[in-house]
Amino acid sequence: MSNKSAAGTAEASSASAAKRRCCFQETSSSVSLSSSFGSEDMQNLPPKTPLLGETAGLGASAGVSTASAAATPMELGIRDPVLKRYSRDYSRSFQPPQGPPPPPTSAMSNRLALQQQQQQNRWRQQSGTFEGDSRSSTTSSSDFIAAAGLPRQSPAPSLLGDRRQQQQQQVESNVKINGLQMRLLAEESARKWQRIEADQQIHRLRDENIRLQSREGSTEERSRLATVTAELQTVRDEYQDYRSKTQRTLDDCQRNVTRLNREKLELEERATADKERLALELKEARNRVFELTSRELRMTEEARMQAEIRSKELSEWKAHLAEREAQLEESSKLQARVNELELQAKLHESERARLKSANEAIDRYEQVRQQNARLKEQLAAAKQIRDDRLVLEEENRSLRGRLESAESRAATLAADLAAAQTAEAKQSDRSANQSLTADHWSSESARLASAQRELALATAGRAELQIAVSAAERSLSESAAAQSEAEAKIQRLETELGELKRRLRLLSRERDMLKEFVASYLLDCTLGGSGSEQAYLQRISNMESLLDDYKRQLDEALAEKSSTASAAPSRLSLPVESQQQQQQASSRLSLGELASKQEASLVIELRQQITELHKRLAAAEEDKEMLAAREARLSDLGDADPRFTRVLHLVQNPAQEAEEARENELAELRKKLEKALTRCEKLEEKLKNRAAAGPADGEAAAATAGSSAAATSVIGDMTRDVSMIVGRGDLLAEIERLKTELDRKDLQKQRQREAFRTNTEKMREAVHRLLGYRVQLESDNPSERLFRISSTYVDFDEQDSDKTSFLFRLNDDNVDLLTTDYVSEWQSDVRHYVQERNSVPAFLATVTLNYFGSSTTLVSSSVMGATTIS
């Protein structure tokens, strides 16, 4: 962000620089900067007061050409009305002085004219410079705003107003300084003009004097010369007066200039201070702009983030809305399903009606079956009749045969009768002759009459039989038709039964489907209260009971059908049972009506439950939405659904390590605390023991010690004791062991030391006795190895002094004999044996021999003793 702001500031500064360039170009174009101005002209320009925001380049390049020297401020392109006003005033107040024209002939006059022209050019340049400065100040004031990196519409109007006021004050002060400078210059130029006039007059008088001197001959001319000389003197005096006056004026002007310069410096200092203050304000403004920019960026970012959040929320709301719509659609589907269920309930009612009609049909079927059975019986009877008829036909045929045979017999008999009659006639003739044949004739006639009777009877029976056969055939055809009709009815009823079974299957399947649907709906409505679930379950149980009721009714119908089917044959024979069944059927019908009423009330109850369920569903949906919103928020926050996502981490992680370290630290601190507590307890016990041991001890101690040092030592002892008890309680055994070991080592060391000391004494004694010298270790430092050697022949009291003993230092490769007073006594021997022969033993032997020679008696006694000993 800082980089961005820095970049922005850099861009603003570059833009301001570009703008500055543009302003400069505008100014230069409007002023029409002339390249004809040389460096000399530029150098002759009066010193320019730098304005705020003005650059050297601007100041250096702001000149006017001679062609545009008389241009007005408007023509010069000054747009600021304040600066225009100042410009106008200055153009009005700084008109070039109208001096007298120079004399046309003289060279001096020409030079003066040239100087005057240059002066006029300078004034014009000054005026142009000032106008250029004012323009540049205008430019710089605009550039100042641009360079500040501020927007043209400043965020703080008061600040901008202050800044403008300060700029205006700055411009005014600059204008004032320039005005003063210009006035000073004008006065100076006026003085110059006066001086020039005086010079011209002096020159003119000199010229005239010269001219008159050339005409010196005439008196008139002399008198005129004197007059001219007097005039000259007068002019000179006047000139002197004028010079002195001019000098004073010049001094005054110089003082004024000094004062003005001081004022200018003060103004410059004020301007610098103002500039610094403005720079500070600019810095503050920049900081403020930066803050505002950063705040704006932050706010933009926040707004963007909020917009994103809003868009996300919007999308979530849209999703929720879609979900809600889906739920509404689902609820509408449920409503449709409920309507469908109601429709199905109505269908069930119609089915019940149909079932009722089917029951009636079943009843009819039973009747038909009864009728069928009856018809079957009739058929059987008809069959019997047919059999009878067949029998009768057979009989008829046999009778006919018999009739035919009887007819044939009758014919035979008639023929016989005719023959008999002829024979009778013949025999009447012969009656007389044949009296016996009459009887035979009469019997034959009787037999013929009986035969005729039988024939008549057979004919009547035949007619009767034919009538019976026709009746039987008719009844047979009737029974066949009734049977076929009954079979058709049975077929139809069986078809209806199959249809009912199929419908039952469909209803069962639908029930299962509805169960699944309700179960899924219950699963979806996870937030549904136990009440709605119970209502659903109650509804399902109601539907199941309704279905079971239907099923039971169907089973009953089937059972009744089977029972009626089984009981059908006997129904014909048992009309009482059929009547009872008809009564049962009628009672069942009344039960069905009752069931329909119950179902209607159940439907109403179900509708009420549906309404209640709708309400609960709406509440559940609201809860679900809330939960979904909460879930969405949790999901945004990083909550993970364990069904789809795993959250993993490394077991050894910095947090775990920090926790372990903290636990370890805590454990150590706990240990320390426990130790400290134990120590405190022990201290308390100790104090109690001491207190119990007797306050007299304490008083005595206080009386004897009476100082805090003693108390401190007591506390220190106690602390040490407690430390021994607490801190080293478990190390006591080790300490005891180490102490025992230490004692043993000390004893061993003591013994070794004693043994060494004894041996050393023995050795020294042996050396002393054998070599005649007592050897003593002089220094306590064992590394120094400085030995004092004294002869056994020297007096015992003087043995350890420097006057009677040698000092030797043993080095690694040689032996140094240290200089002592005693050595100087043996100088020649030292030189001879030690220095020249490099033999200390020989030197010592010489010393021993010298002593031996000088004190024979003393030595002899001791040597004798030694000889005796050895």
Partner: protein, 207 residues
């Protein structure tokens, strides 16, 4: 009439994985530095994404980050990673006080060996990443100061069927911040992986 030729940029799954895991490394380092989880002396300057980012020189921490990011790289290339979360906890109470969440959306149609047409070129992607890093650095201005000892942990959200590589990894919870304030940061995409950033923090963690 000159016809402007539209330049198409291509990116592979491997390149996207490298870019995203690299971003995670520098983002985590920046967070750890800015939030003062580790001493500032243990960080060194490094130039990345046109920025000067601070990277840890603590060998132990570096080893942990490299280990976890190697696995993240694998899961990025398998397109099974869903989130990377940096959890900052108070050591004394183990309370989660800050949670930096980087949601990763993978383009499942990306294949390992086929380059895809990228929406943005690499320079733009790096610029977006630099913006995110800059926002992370700037977030110190509004996040509350953590005036107590803190530790951190990295959590990875993966697909349920993701197999764990070794016994060093284990399941854990999401470790949410209770009563948190959330600030969404900028996001960037490599056309295969899109990374959204969010920081949730406890408003008054010192209470």
């Amino acid at each position: 009439m000159p016809v402007a030729q539209k330049t198409k940029h291509a990116i592979t799954l491997k390149g996207s994985t490298k870019t995203v895991s690299e971003f995670f490394y520098y983002a985590v380092n920046s967070i750890l530095y800015q939030r003062g989880i580790y001493p500032s002396e243990s960080f060194s300057f490094e130039q990345k994404y046109g920025l000067t980012v601070l990277v840890t020189s603590d060998e132990k921490l570096k080893a942990y980050l490299i280990k976890i990011l190697e696995q993240v790289k694998q899961w990025l290339s398998d397109l099974v990673i869903e989130k990377l979360v940096l959890v900052i906890r108070r050591v004394s109470t183990q309370e989660v006080v800050e949670r930096w969440q980087f949601d990763i959306k993978c383009d499942k149609s990306a294949k390992s060996d086929e380059p895809m047409v990228a929406e943005k070129d690499e320079k733009q992607v790096k610029k977006d990443i630099a913006d995110v890093i800059r926002q992370i650095v700037a977030s110190v201005t509004f996040l509350p100061a953590l005036d107590f000892q803190c530790s951190f942990e990295l959590l990875i959200y993966c697909d349920k069927n993701t197999e764990l590589p070794s016994g060093e990894w284990a399941d854990t919870g999401p470790q949410l911040v209770s009563n948190s304030v959330e600030v969404k940061l900028k996001s960037f995409t490599t056309s295969i992986h899109k990374v959204d950033s969010l920081v949730a923090y406890k408003l008054n963690p010192n209470e």
